[in-house]
Amino acid sequence: MPEIRTETMTVNMGPQHPSTHGVLRLVLVLDGETVLSAAPTIGYLHTGIEKTTEQKKWQQVIPLVERMDYLSAQSNSLAFCLSVERLLGIEIPQRVRDIRVLLAELQRINSHLVWLGTHGMEVGAVSVMLYCFRERELLLNINELLAGFRLFPSYIRVGGLREDLPRGFHAAVRAFLGLFPAKLDEYEDLLTKNEIYLKRTRGVGVISKDDAVAYSLMGPIARAAGVDYDVRKSFPYLGYDTYDFTVPTQTRGDAYSRYQVRLAEMRESVKLCRQALERIPPTGIFAVDDPRITPPPKDRVYTEMEALIQHFLIYSQGFTVPAGEAYVPVEGPRGEQGFYVVSDGTNRPWRVKSRPPSLLACQALERMIVGGLIADVIAVIGSIDVVMGDVDR
């Protein structure tokens, strides 16, 4: 009887695959169902945003950076504005900082909801997706109320915010915060002790603490592996050190731990939002009082010559930023996020470089899927929460 011949099989997964969250391509070498090697190929979504920013004025960069990581738009613009404000050397009013904290935390909930929905759907829990997108709709409505734009509000600007909070903002956020913890319990009912979900995620896509550090995974993935690092605690910005919150960590480093960490993070974000909302007066100062950067109010533009000139200068030439470099990290939904900004003293950036947490997660993907089963590849890609717009930029 002839011997049974076995050979490895090379499978090209992606770039057009519904579970790769964009256009990620993996070249997998399989022995039966076991993954022997995996080579991620990226770049299909490269749009040259960093090159484009060099031709834009400082304030015009904000809509661009919001579109890099399209699930955490406000975190991106926040990180960019903090770096530019550091270069400008301006002090941001306390009310603006609290509003920014509130927006950043709402954005984190928003991003985690999309993650939970899509990840749940990929491992077979389709109803979770419907639940999560139902609550996300409320957050998008808040964005719409705030800026008239649901995904990319461009509301956080260099020097403060675009305009004051709209009427009804506090009520809308309060309504969301009142309802959301119960919804979180609902998601937990669906997944936390769900036998199928546990089988699909426990012990799957494990990354050790040492590897998480070596691959610079700063964020929920590292915290699920036991790295206790959160920019909000270690290098506080926007006065996060005056807020009461904890940083959830786990030790196993598998897909299930990442789920636990992100769910706990959403609860902490609700806590932070409540505290921030308490501190924000409904009306008040919304931008730094600096005529170089903040345009004058419209009623003055229509009646005063000086205000008209100032308005014209800001909108035609923008403002100049002193020469230098700055990098102010923030804790985005996917980990440490920041913009390394270099200015040559003109009204356009010399260089804008985003630190992409998704790129580093993609790099570590190989570590997490080699040796596992091909069916788990989808679960792992879902669990590391990559946004390909952030990977390729």
Binding site: E50, K51, E325, Y327, R351, R355, L359, Q363
Partner: protein, 181 residues
């Protein structure tokens, strides 16, 4: 740790490093390192327990064309244990734009350095996988260099589909079958 003591103790550990501290506005200690001593400095930064810069947050470059040395490589490091952030920079001349890789010290540098090679054309000696990362493999030029043309319409390149005669196809299939059996 005080930035000046940090740099002084580093200078003691690697005497040839020519460290040069520059002021920074964003509370991250910034220093220049000579190109040849970068790997040695990197190893000390990661391994000494009073420094413990275990995280390499970012590797990037800035092109200051037409000034020379035109490139500045930027490494952003984080020490969780000591709650320190450090920015290490290396100056590179345009005609001699290469530097030793640090992917042996921080594995995360692998893709980050590939991105710098891809977009700036700075070579990393000893890199385990020196390919482009974001741009197509047959791309010409390095897009983030300041002398790279912007807003110039290039004629699209068309590649002809592979032309194979029936005999060549049969020969290829037979050859493939022979090598497999």
């Amino acid at each position: 740790m005080d930035p000046n003591t940090l740099i002084a103790s580093l200078q003691d550990a690697v005497p040839a490093a020519q460290l040069e501290r520059v002021p920074s506005v964003d509370l991250q200690t910034t220093m220049y390192v000579s190109r040849d001593e970068l790997p040695a400095v990197a190893r000390v930064l990661r391994d000494r327990s009073d420094l413990a810069f275990t995280f390499l947050a970012e590797v990037t470059a800035v092109d200051f064309w037409p000034r020379e040395p035109r490139f500045e490589l930027v490494y952003i490091l984080v020490s969780i244990a000591q709650r320190l952030r450090l920015r290490v920079k290396v100056r590179l001349h345009g005609a001699d734009a290469h530097v030793a890789t640090v992917s042996g010290v921080w594995p995360a540098a692998n893709w980050l350095e590939r991105e710098v090679w891809d977009l700036f054309g700075i070579a990393f000696d000893g890199h385990p996988d020196p390919r482009r990362l974001l741009m197509p493999e047959d791309w010409e030029g390095y897009p983030l260099r300041k002398d790279y043309p912007v807003q110039i319409r290039m004629t699209p390149r068309v590649s002809e589909p592979l032309q194979v005669t029936e005999e060549e196809f049969r020969a290829s299939v037979t050859k493939d079958r022979l090598t497999r059996s």
